[in-house]
Every structure is written in C-alpha cells, then in structure tokens.
Amino acid sequence: MSGILVLEQLLNGIGYGLMLFLLAAGLTLVFGIMDVLNLAHGSLFMAGAYVAAEAHTRTGSFAAAIVVAVLVTVVVALLIEVLLMRRLYKRDHLAQVLATFGVILVADDIVKMIWGPSPIMAPTPAALSGPVELMDGLPYPSYRLVILAGGVLMALALYVLVNHTRIGMRVRAGASDRPMAELMGVRVGRIFNGVFLLGAALAALAGALMGPIVAVQVGMGEAILIPALVVLVIGGIGSVRGAFVAALLVGVVDTIGRAFVPMLLRATLPPATAADLGPLFAEVAMYALMVVVLIFRPSGLFSARS
C-alpha cells in the first residue's frame, strides 16, 4: 500500500466528511435550539441534488445550477417550516419523528412523480472533469477538489458566523439554554427560522455538490440521513464544532473501513473469509465508532448542553 494511495483515500474521506458536515450542521442547530428532530433533512439534500442536476442540464452552467438548487430548496424548506415544523415544536420527539417520516414519504413520491423512479444523471461540469496533478504521481479528480474547497469554505463561513457574530452568539445561546436565552431577550423563534432555512441551504448545497459523484435517486436522502445523524450524535447535539470534528472523523473512518480494512484482510486472511468480512467492516466502521464514543461519552464529544 503506497503513501500516494493513502493520501488519495484520505482526501476522499475528508471530502465525504465535509459534505456530512454541511448536512449535520443544520441538523444539529435545529435540534439544539428547538429540540426538533427533523428526519426530513435528508429530503432537502435530495431536493438540492435533483434540482441542481435538472438546472445544470438545462442551463449548462454549474454555478447557476447550485444557485437555483439552493433557492428552490430554501423555498421548499420555508413551506415545510410554516406548514408543519411550527406545529411540532411543543411536541415530543416521537411526534416529530412520525411527522417528518411522513414528509420523507411524501417527498419521495413527489420526486418520483416529477423525475420518475429511476436514477437521473447529474453531469460533472466540463471544465472540472479532468484530473489535477496534486504532486508527482498523485492525479486527483478536479471535481473532488471543488467539493473539498466548497466544504472547507462553508465550514469556515459557518464557524465565523456562529462564533464571531452577534447572530451567532444568539444562536449559540439558544442552543445551550433556550429558556435563559429567551429571558435575556433573544427571540429564539425567529432565530430558529433563520437557522432552519440556513440548514436547508447547506443541505441543498451538499446535494448539488454530491450529485455528480453519487447516484441521484429516490431514497438518497434516507441513505445520507443516517450518517448525518451519526455525526450529530458523535459530535454532541447542538454543537457546530462537534459536528465538524465528528463529520471529519466519520468521513475518514468510513473511508478507512472501505479502502484499507478490506486490503488488510485480503493480505492476512484466506480469500473467501476476507471477501466475506471486507464489506462488513466497510459498512459497520461508522456505527462501531459511534457506539464506542457513546460508551465513553454518553452525550457526544462536544455536547452544547453539558
């Protein structure tokens, strides 16, 4: 196993982690502030991916596709917020799980009605389809570099917003102790609206960016929801910093589980056993990480509410 390969896989893992962070950031803030568990967050990711793919095919411009995807998804999120989420604040988690699971079912069927049941193609922007020679002997797909750059930029922007602005201060206050923040004059309800829409925009961005490298299909929202929830739980609910650390951890651990563990098994075990165990480790690594973290820290690495 060469150093180059390790580096390449590490970059893939970080890219995946950054996308997970875009999803988990919105999820963790919404949960932290309003105590609302939104299972439909993955559906916003799906909406972003579908709209971006459609807009890209029609306009031919990747930048326009991303803008359209984010705008459309934010409008959809606004509708969901006004029609549904507001009524769920005061309900227990179970009612929230039930209602937002309902949203998943509705969203999947709407997507099926518009785009059909089979996966659609999300084109890679032509200018970014080739590889870039990062260093000697390490060609890396330039589109994946864009994902990395986009993820890092958004993470930085979010970090500044949450930690170094007045709005961010209110958001953090709402997440760590909502009643106290309200007593101090923070209008948490309004902050929440903003955070919910921001979360939707980030999910749409992740969907638009991931579209070209994953299958754009019905159910892609549920598939990414679970890793995003794992990130939320490992990081600690309500903590953006926790979500960031956990997302990178999960991204890298998942990649190691997929790329290196099977290789290691093939080198040390009989081929049949290795072929059986390889995929198992690949899929299970992320969950094992979560269970281990929860055994030692039952409320995540950086819980906003200690």
Binding site: Q96, A99, L229, P298
Partner: protein, 329 residues
C-alpha cells in the same frame, strides 16, 4: 377475569379470524389468507415494540433487527437440517432475546435521542452482518426449502393449517404480553417511564428492569421473525432495513402508545392501507405520509385512544378508578 363485553368482543374477533381461511375461498379471497397471516405476525412484532416503547418509554429504532435475528436463526438451523418448529421457534426467540440483552446493556446507558441512535446503530450492524453472510444468500436472501414441522399429521405446508398455527401462537404471545403489562413488572416499567428518578429512589433496579423488558421485546420480535420466515419461505436482509424499524415505530404510534391494542391496531391500519393504496395508485407512499403527518398533528395519542375519547365521562372515570385500583401493589 370477569366476563365483560370486552372479552366477548375478543372472543368474537378470534372466532372470525379462525374462520377466515374457511370462508375466504367461498368469496375467491384465497390470496388474502397469506395477507391476514402476515398482518397477524406484524401485529405481534408491533405489540412487542409497544411493550418497550409505549409501556417502557424506550424509543428503540432498531426493532427490525430482532425480527431479522429470529428469521436468520431459522435460516441457519434449517440449513443445518433442523426442521422441528419446537426447536426452531424457541431458538429464534432465544437468540433474538440474547442479542437484545447484549445490545440493551450498551444502549440503556444512553438517554433520549442518543438511545434512539444507539439502537439504530446496532440494528444497522446486524443488517450488515447478515448482508455479509454469503452462506445464507447475503444480499439476495435465502429461500427455505420447506415449512417447519410441528406435530405428526399436521401439514404446515397447507396454507390454512399454517395460518391457524400462526393465529394460535400470535394470540398466545399477545395475551402473555398483555399479562406482563398488567403484572408488577409491567407497572414497574411504566413507573420508570413516568419518573425514573422516583423509581430509583424507591429501590427499583431500574437498569435491570429495563434490560429485561428490552430482552423480552427482542425475543418476541424474534419469534415474529421466525413465523415470518416460515410463512414467506424466504428471508432477506431487507426485513432488517432501518426503514422497517421506523415503520414499526410508526405503527405503534398510530395505533396508540402504551395501549394494550396499540401495536396490533397500528399494524392492521398501516398494512391494510398499504395494500389498498398499492392497488389503486403507483404513488402510494404519499397518502401514507400525509396520514402520518395528520396523526402526528391531530391524534398524537394514536387511533386506539380515539375510541376512549367517545366514552362518557362517567365511564372514563370508572376505568380510571379501576386502573388506579389495580395499580396498587
């Protein structure tokens, strides 16, 4: 137990269910014998989840994992040549119960959403374990050669016979679960659900009680899995997908959390709606999704609770008094 209109109604339901395989062919409804059998099995699984979710307050999102453990125990034993239901079904319950106990020792250390996620994580791991078991078909699933044997002269390959056996097992298990909720153990579980600190202060071994409840629910889900495997003659990892666990939670909440008929009512409503909608439209997810949203918004205590609303105040007060009386140690 005194003979009430409730017992009478239950008896009537049981007779109607038992007569179904005899009546159905007269109306050309043979196909629905298999459907009703599946509904019965899923109702049992939902009731076992309600035992910990509704009565125990443990929001477990991995119940399909235990159903799968039961089903795959049957697969593994059948593959090894064991055919007797007397061994297959208890072993399925035992294996699922033991797995649930092991998972419970870790998951019950966490609370709230962390508990939801831990149970989900373990169920996902079980899911991927069976996906990697190529000996038992992996992703493609495993076809069972024949139905298990129960008694000499009893051919479980016969649809009606197998239906009756399932009906008997499900009715017994449901009755037993109901008794467990009425017993001291069930009341202790409900006490922990309502106020864990107080129960601990009263000297109840909270963790142990929850763990036993969790293992019981897992074992009964495993039994349901074994029946499901026998009925379908086919087992695949899809049975254990996390959306199946979510659907079971949905059934319980729709039916009524912590109500003795919550699980079965929810399972019947969900499966019947699914069946009817599938026949009419390709887009059958959407009406189900809208129903879920409606229930969450307007009937948060579930459909089984709607009937109580209609009762007169006096009847409600009387039942509350009975409940309070039976709660006394």
């Amino acid at each position: 137990m005194k003979f009430s209109s409730r017992t009478f109604g239950l008896g009537l339901l049981l007779v109607a269910l038992a007569a179904f395989p005899l009546v159905a062919p007269l109306f050309g409804l043979d196909f629905y014998i298999g459907f009703v059998r599946r509904v019965l099995i899923v109702a049992l699984a939902a009731a076992s989840l309600n035992f910990i979710l509704g009565f125990g307050g443990m929001v477990a999102l991995g119940h399909a994992g235990f159903i799968g453990m039961g089903a795959y125990t049957v697969v593994a034993l059948s593959d090894a040549g064991v055919m007797s239901a007397w061994i297959l079904w208890p072993m399925a319950a035992l294996v699922a119960g033991v797995v649930a106990a092991l998972i419970g020792t870790v998951a019950l250390r966490t609370r709230g959403v962390y508990f939801i996620m831990t149970t989900l994580a373990f169920a996902q791991m079980l899911y991927f374990v069976v996906v990697s078991l190529r000996k038992y078909g992996g992703d493609d699933g495993y076809t069972l050669m024949s139905r298990p044997t129960l008694l000499p002269g009893l051919d479980l390959g016969n649809e009606a016979t197998f239906y009756w056996v399932v009906l008997a097992v499900v009715a017994l298990a449901l009755w037993w679960l109901h008794r467990a909720t009425q017993a001291r153990f069930g009341h202790a579980l409900m006490g922990i659900r309502d106020n864990e600190t107080r129960m601990r202060a009263l000297g109840y071994p909270v963790f142990r009680l929850q763990l036993v409840g969790f293992a019981i629910a897992g074992a009964i889900a495993g039994l349901a899995g074994a029946l499901l495997a026998g009925g379908n003659g086919f087992v695949s990892p899809a049975t254990m997908h996390w959306t199946q666990s979510a659907t079971l939670v949905v059934m319980v909440v729709i039916g009524g959390l912590g109500r003795s008929w919550g699980g079965p009512v929810g399972a019947v409503v969900w499966l019947v709606l699914e069946e009817v909608l599938k026949q009419h439209t390709e887009h059958w997810h959407m009406p189900l999704g809208l129903l879920l949203i409606a229930v969450a918004l307007w009937a948060p205590r579930g459909l089984a609770a709607l009937s109580t609303k209609r009762r007169t105040v006096a009847a409600a007060a009387a039942s509350a008094a009975t409940a309070a009386g039976s709660a006394k140690p």
